[in-house]
Symmetry: C2
């Protein structure tokens, strides 16, 4: 009799974002004339850059000829892309990486989940609260998160609250934690940590032998100078941190799926009997049994982003969404709401008025303006009292949303 | 202190196929003038079909325009592909499936690994021996396989020997086993099970409440009429079997990565307290936290294979490799070797003469003819005494290999 993984059953049956989608759908059905504007969308709108489209066509033509056809990608990705990544994303910041430390992947989501497989089921984990649910869910299914409590928290997870009270800068935990997830620029709050703040985390990790899993998915949105693009801008981070990157959000590769993970050679985890095991070769080994890498077409597409034209296209796209964020921020603030984030990230994190719940705010907004936002409670207990707006709409939709928000009479 | 997953450490550090690649490499270095022919290659050679190339170019153009741009794929894949799969791969065989039972995936490898996550760590597993190592490795890393013993077997795995003595038809286990992996047409042996034989497995599974994980990766190579293309051709299989498919080996999509998994709605696993849980919604839930699906381009490419031109292209490609297999089989048999497989699969499984080990045969062949094969021992203890030849070379290489084999003086 095949038994199901009992840890997996601990996950609530309904995925929060699916539930929200259902609520939106029932609004659409009952309000067929309303043009719904989706500011809860976690997916890009703008098409691929021209330089990428050209690279894709060329790569497709290569796949059509026996001499230039490519089958399975090398497990760590093609050298042309790994070299471009090291040369462009790290070397200019003084970060020295070798090709064996950079692994091309399909997506940050998959890689974060895969990394969890390399680690023991009873490591303690710490997360910021609110947090994108994926980080915790991946731990639930291997039994690492414990059980879901009435307060919405998992019993074995250390939550580090981020709210307006602490300017969304979580306090360092008092106890040692084995694994800590950090995502900066942060989804959902759209806030960042500056170099001096991130340095505290790296020092904490060095002191307590903590593994930092650093998700830099929204790195391309950073505009302020003292906000690190990579955790490795902090001295000592190579000993304690894995960094996850993706081309999804900067270049609009959500439909292409290409990213990478950096696992420095000096990074280790421990065995029960106290040996230290380098993670780089173990990740390589895991890739043989567990996951593939981005396909050749996507890797050539990613390579195109490192040309001058590609860099310009990424800048234009992220500027576009950041300009949306600025327009929305102005409209929401103008309507007596307190708004955080949006300066270095495509997200706004909005305090609900008074004691209004995030779900109630979501419903009022939807039914009174036809605009979708995401209730903060979907990102954990610390998200209650906030809602998230994303900036991935078209400019036209954004302007229409601004108009509706300006005329919205909030409770 | 982050601890490493101790189960993962049980895997031998060296991946067998990487070791073989190293041996080949050292031969190349010491024999720079020999044109090595790779008949150990598990990747296709022929380029993508024209109809697929056209579909890819069209899809790339769609990604270049805001109106037709596509971001994240739906988690279960696009309807156009799911519908084509059901209509072409199953309906004509009288197998009724609904869209909610078919999930587009990146690859069979990933899906087989992901399925393992849904199941409890202490289920018993059964595999044919020899077997493609992936199935066991995915279980090792979650602790389900036990420990590697001196005889090359994992302590918690039930091995079902397949050899010339039993015509490569494994005997049904005497005890109940929770999960059994079957791959037909089989990699490595290139053999198949006919309908009457597969029916015994389905009946065994129904009787013992066993979950069958059926890998149909090489389905497109089946030529004989009474060999099922799908496990669901057997009555009752929907209650006990998951089927994994990929477009990699038939159409040559190893560089595109698109496949699918079928999880019938009636398929369940049990909880410790005896409840039955349907696997379909759990797979859907897992997809949200664990893995993506094939990208839009790959799904349009896969869709093209269901056109008359696409079907013809798949037939031509598989015919080509099967013709290679036939040429090689004739040459090897002509040189006093006993050869199995190759009629419904792109693999030949060759008995080594006398008591010659598979590794020794590999080395003799490499050093005396410049041809690479794969030592059977890499596929488990039951592979000792055999080597595998794959048929994924070009016809020109195949003819050259035939020539060299004919003139090879085997020990």
């Amino acid at each position: 009799m095949a038994l199901i993984n009992e840890h997996f059953l601990k996950l609530p049956d309904n995925y929060f974002f699916t539930d929200i989608a259902k609520k939106v759908n029932s609004f659409r059905v009952t309000h067929p004339k309303t043009r719904v504007i989706d500011l809860g969308k976690e997916d890009v709108t703008l098409p691929l850059p021209d330089v990428t489209v050209k690279a894709l066509h060329r790569a497709v033509d290569e796949m059509a000829q026996q001499e230039t056809f490519r089958g399975y990608s090398p497990h760590h990705g093609y050298d042309f892309l790994v070299d471009a990544i090291i040369k462009n994303d790290f070397a200019p910041k003084g970060i020295q990486l070798t090709p064996g430390e950079v692994f091309v992947t399909n997506s940050a989501k998959e890689s974060i989940s895969n990394m969890s497989d390399l680690l023991r089921h009873d490591n303690s984990i710490g997360v910021t609260d609110p947090i994108y649910p994926l980080y915790i869910d991946a731990n639930v299914s291997v039994g690492r998160a414990g059980t879901l409590q009435d307060d919405g928290k998992w019993s074995n997870v250390v939550y580090m609250p981020c709210s307006y009270e602490n300017h969304f800068i979580p306090q360092l935990p008092e106890q040692p934690i084995d694994i800590i997830y950090l995502c900066y620029p942060d989804n959902p709050t759209g806030t960042v940590q500056r170099k001096a703040e991130l340095r505290k985390w790296v020092n904490y990790a060095i002191e307590h032998d903590t593994l930092l899993l650093f998700d830099a998915t929204y790195e391309a949105y950073i505009r302020e100078k003292d906000v690190p693009h990579s955790i490795y801008e902090i001295k000592g981070a190579k000993k304690v941190a894995v960094e996850f990157r993706t081309f999804s959000m900067g270049a609009g590769f959500t439909g292409l799926q290409c990213g990478y993970v950096v696992i420095p050679k000096e990074l280790t985890a421990a065995t029960l009997d106290g040996r230290r095991i380098a993670l780089t070769p173990k990740w390589e080994r895991l890739s043989h049994i567990r996951f593939g890498t981005a396909i050749y077409l996507a890797q050539r597409a990613a390579e195109s982003l490192y040309t001058p034209e590609g860099k310009k296209a990424v800048k234009e796209r992220t500027d576009y969404y950041l300009a949306n964020a600025a327009l929305l921020k102005e409209a929401l603030s103008g309507n007596r709401l307190t708004v955080y984030g949006g300066d270095n990230a495509p997200f706004l994190w909005v305090k609900t008025p008074g004691t209004l719940s995030s779900m109630k705010f979501f419903e009022h907004l939807l039914y009174e303006t036809g605009i979708i936002c995401t209730p903060g409670v979907g990102f954990g207990p610390g998200g209650e009292g906030y809602v998230q707006f994303t900036a991935f709409c078209s400019r036209k939709e954004c302007e229409e949303a601004v108009h509706r928000i300006r005329h919205w009479r909030i409770l």
